[in-house]
Amino acid sequence: MIIKAIKLKKYYKSSQSTIKVLEEINLQVEEGELIAIVGPSGSGKTTLLNILGLLDNPTSGELYINGKNAANLSDKEKRKIRLHKIGFIFQNFNLISSLTALENVELPMALAGIPSKEQRKRAIQLLKAVKLDNKINSKIHELSMGEAQRVAIARAFANNSSIILADEPTAQLDYENKMNIIELLQKLRKERNTTVIVATHDLNITKDFDKIYELRNGRLASLT
């Protein structure tokens, strides 16, 4: 089991009240699975992905990544796991605008200390896999939304991460690009045996997913 969440809760305290975003999340994810977490905007999908991706801490509950209890991990260990084991795909891409497509894909490898030649070789391979080999030296603002999201996908796979967390990866795309992105994610997942968790409000893109969960009122319910 690559991810195991037990009774995860996340509350945000404001001056007047406590907002209960996640009530009791129980989730088990096997290696290589393609999972969808669906739910309307504001249901807590992003918060859940941030917790699963070790970007945020739960208020209570237990989270195991590759069998390791996240609560026992130091910041340094969490950062290492994020860099080597987890790839993020954000709704608004979160690419670095001053770098080219190629450099954006090289970035996680640079942070991981992979030699420059190897970085370049792998980045070009990934950009070819996402069909952007003709745009490797393009700046981010020169790319379309679909292309930018494909760069983000290539970046997420750069360090051969075993878990990919995609937060609304198709939200800003038209139907054709949506389907292309999902096909791409499925293809890369199969090739690399990667676990992919996609948070989305769009059930149409979840046709071939292994498991689909609905996040409602802070709880996960299986739809499959």
Partner: protein, 388 residues
């Protein structure tokens, strides 16, 4: 790609931001360097221009003023010189007259000073400085003059040129290029007898420059002269300096205040610019953090960029500051380019530049660290959430 390469690329690709930052940094450093260099040179100039008659006593009429090189309101009979030479311990007593030519339309300071000195005694006034190559001192009681470099340049005069002073024609026989003394640069030096004749000071001089014999202190000799000769003040080097010292001290205080003020203003703007610069990159830093960058990598990215901008801006600002300092000294201070070039290392003032660079580097690094730790404390996800 290396993190360092990424920083450099980022700086060069975000050209507008980089240019604005560098312009701001450069202007701040320019302000600091130009003020410090100008003040430093001016102080050096004033202090070194005030070294006339070192180790000698100046005898003037009682209660007259003496500033830097010449008395104001002093008149003595020439024959007093004989009395002075009779005082025990006096080696020589050289008479001199000083006539200021002031053009109130142009400026407060004299446009030139005519000095009459006995032939052969020129060095009492000019020290080791001799007329430039091709020139010489005036011959005995001839209508010849040696003029300062500034007067020569301003009036296009060379050796052999003719000038008229109070209706009398003179020949320029030498040009004097003093190092730092602007006063000498404004002088017309002629034989004493000729000066007395031209200006109507027959038998009258303004002061005597008295050299003590070896082993006799200035203070001791000055006392003897004042005891023996009525209605004169014998001023030692220390006493003469006392006239200018308060003025110099005031100037030093003001100049230090101006330097500190310019440094505070410059530093303030550098801090503001650095903050804006890093704050503007919050999102990128948060993205890199979310990917999993180590703490030291994030700190390196932020510090490298701030330090890089500080250093480049510092270098440009230093060059601009020195140029503006030269311009100020040349055009406002009327200091000859030759003198400026001869004293280049006083204007450039390496210790001051080193101080500025070290402060700048320390400021850049410290700011970078504060900002980096601030971002790390806030957490990538919170920053990304805020940025949306």
């Amino acid at each position: 790609m290396h993190i360092f390469t990424m920083c450099i690329k980022n700086i060069f690709r975000k050209r507008a931001r980089t240019i604005l930052c560098l312009t701001g940094f450069s202007l701040c450093i320019m302000l600091i360097v130009s003020v410090s260099s100008t003040v430093n040179f001016t102080m050096y100039f004033i202090e070194n221009s005030n070294l006339f008659y070192q180790g000698k006593i100046v005898v003037v009429s009682k209660n007259s003023y003496f500033i830097q090189i010449a008395p104001i309101g002093s008149a003595l009979l020439e024959k007093v010189g004989v009395q002075i030479e009779e005082v025990e311990g006096v080696k020589t007593a050289v008479p001199a007259i000083f006539v200021y030519s002031i053009s109130p339309k142009k400026r407060f300071l004299p446009t030139n000073i005519t000095v009459g000195i006995p032939c052969g005694k020129w060095n009492v006034l000019t020290g080791p400085i001799e007329p430039d190559k091709g020139g010489r001192w005036p011959e005995n009681n001839s209508k010849e003059v040696v003029i300062g470099r500034y007067l020569a340049e301003r009036n296009n005069l060379t050796v052999g040129s003719k000038i008229t002073i109070r209706g009398v024609n003179f020949t320029v026989v030498g040009i004097l290029s003093p190092g730092l003394s602007s006063v000498l640069s404004y002088m017309i030096i002629m034989p004493l007898k000729v000066a007395q004749e031209v200006y109507g000071y027959c038998g009258i001089v303004h002061m005597f420059i008295v050299e003590p014999i070896e082993g006799v202190s200035e203070e001791e000799l000055a006392e003897r002269i004042e005891e023996k000769i009525a209605n004169v003040d014998a001023l030692t080097t220390n006493e003469r300096n006392q006239f200018t010292q308060p003025l110099l001290n005031d100037f030093r205080k003001w100049s230090t205040a101006i330097e500190i003020f310019s440094f505070i203003i410059g530093s303030f703007f550098i801090i503001v610019l650095s903050l804006i610069n890093v704050y503007e990159r919050r999102r990128e830093i948060a993205i890199i953090n979310s990917i999993g960058a180590a703490k030291h990598q994030l700190i390196t990215i932020i510090v490298l960029e701030v330090v890089f901008l500080c250093l480049i801006g510092g270098a440009i600002g230093t060059v601009l500051g020195l140029l503006s300092s030269f311009i100020m000294l040349r055009w406002l201070g009327k200091i000859a380019p030759k003198i400026l070039l001869e004293h280049l290392w006083i204007v450039i003032n390496f210790p001051m530049l080193l101080d500025v660079f070290i402060s700048l580097l320390a400021m850049g690094t410290l700011l970078g660290l504060i900002l980096a730790f601030g971002m790390l404390r806030k957490g990538a996800i919170n920053i990304l959430r805020e940025e949306i």
